[in-house]
Symmetry: C2
Subunit: 129 residues, 2 copies
Amino acid sequence: MTQSTQISRDTALSTVSRYLEAIAEATSPSQIAALYTDDATVEDPVGSEPVRGKDAIAAFFAPLTQSQRDTELLNFRHCGDSAAFHFRVRTHTPDGVVEIEPLDVMTFTTDGLISSAKAYWSPEDVRMD
Amino acid sequence: MTQSTQISRDTALSTVSRYLEAIAEATSPSQIAALYTDDATVEDPVGSEPVRGKDAIAAFFAPLTQSQRDTELLNFRHCGDSAAFHFRVRTHTPDGVVEIEPLDVMTFTTDGLISSAKAYWSPEDVRMD
């Protein structure tokens, strides 16, 4: 018995892949924000005040454009209008590589825009290489 | 800026570990249900109608007591009052071992009871060994 919108696994995976690419390339914050609906929420990490709306989301991701990073999708699960996934972000800084592997949960519209995102990680999960 | 209850990583991890043990041992459905608050919700998989309340949760898990299984925690992230984790469930059936590796998200009360659980997996993630 379903209670919510269904989207295909391919649609969800495509958006998640573009999200990881956008984080890695980080050519502009608006490129990342374009993946979200106008009134989307981002709670990153979970427990922090959610960021609401495309402009706020662009501002939230703006610091990403200041350093080089790579991303890798480690695991992906899809069901209903949602996906949960595990990924690695390696940020290259003058002091070394900062590595973090969050577990994220997202909901999507039928056209594959992100309507909500929650990122589960804490400072104790951050590693320096 | 926090918006919700904070629980310790140890409290969240302890409950998640007891959840995986209870699934593996499955001595009784009420043993599993005892990990939840009276009005907890379980949405498993996400997109299905949530099961509400301890009795309904016990009934939901009742089929588990009918076969042998083992569980393994693969990854765990904690933040705020929540945890996200990746785990493996191997169910031993007359036809072979059925393996599934869901990504779950849970919220907890300060005393470590589960107040909500969402399980992200789909039939295409199920493997037969």
